[in-house]
């Protein structure tokens, strides 16, 4: 699945990173608790979250996550967007709720990745 596929499936819009629209995403995780995200390394992952602070981008950075989707129509402030730009992490926003957004991506073939 690509960033573009995720955008279309979730009817999402870009907050940053349209130039990376073709980037491949292999796994996903959905959480508002960043330590839970940090507990399992995944490959080329997308993070779905309702959390909107800079630590979401930091967490993504440490985990080599390639794309963050903010659910429930949440919009981060400019600090968060700037940090994502620096790190070239795609930011998307969807009005869908967490459960539905995860379900749709799962239905379209995206999985949680190996737990190691």
């Amino acid at each position: 699945m690509t960033v573009n596929d995720i955008k279309n499936h979730l009817k999402a819009s870009f907050l940053y990173g349209e130039e990376f629209i073709g980037r491949e995403v292999h796994t996903a995780c959905g959480s508002d608790m960043m330590s839970d995200v940090l507990a399992f390394v995944k490959d080329q992952s997308v993070l779905l979250t309702g959390l909107c602070n800079p630590q979401v981008v930091r967490t993504a950075e440490m985990m080599d996550i390639v794309c963050i989707v903010f659910v429930r129509g949440k919009l981060p402030d400019q600090t968060v967007i700037d940090l994502a730009k620096e790190r070239e992490i795609v930011l998307l926003s969807t009005s869908m709720r967490m459960f539905s957004a995860c379900g749709i991506l799962y239905e379209n073939g995206l999985r949680g990745g190996a737990e190691n």
Binding site: D32, S35, N53, Q55, E61, M62
Partner: protein, 140 residues
């Protein structure tokens, strides 16, 4: 990379927005040195959780990083309240973090367990009322 490289970071107290800057810096430095992505990720995650802990619990502190051809050693030192029961603190899900920290996405009781998980060796020395020193090693 035959020599030992030493780096020092100061973690600012109560600045949740900036927490993670040290880990971010070490991550890009290690990448530039050509360290394997897996090792870079382990160091970055372990140190990041440590940094967050220092901001949440200990009014910041200092991190020393030593890089040799064999391993990376991170020493995180704070003058915080100390850990009363280290064994309990190591249990996944056990946390003393206040609710406002949970609203920020942390305080789930996964910090120390994650640090242990991503480091090859971890040692905690803590004196209640004086502070805590966590030493983590990641092998190259």
């Amino acid at each position: 990379m035959s020599d030992t490289i030493k780096l020092k970071y100061t973690v600012s107290p109560d600045d949740f927005t900036r927490a993670g800057e040290a880990s971010s810096d070490i991550k890009s430095k290690l990448k530039r040195m050509g360290v394997s992505p897996e090792v870079v990720r382990k160091v970055a995650i372990a140190m990041y959780e440590g940094e967050i802990n220092m901001v949440i619990h200990a009014n910041g502190g200092e991190i020393d990083v030593e890089i040799t051809p064999d391993e990376i050693t991170m020493t995180l030192k704070d003058k915080g309240p100390g850990i009363k029961d280290i064994e309990q603190a190591m249990q996944a899900g056990w946390s003393t973090a206040p609710d406002n920290v949970r609203n920020l996405g942390f305080g789930a009781g996964m910090g120390l367990p994650n640090m242990k998980k991503y480091s090859d060796e971890m040692e905690i020395q803590s004196v209640v009322g004086k502070g805590t020193t966590v030493t983590m090693k990641v092998k190259m």
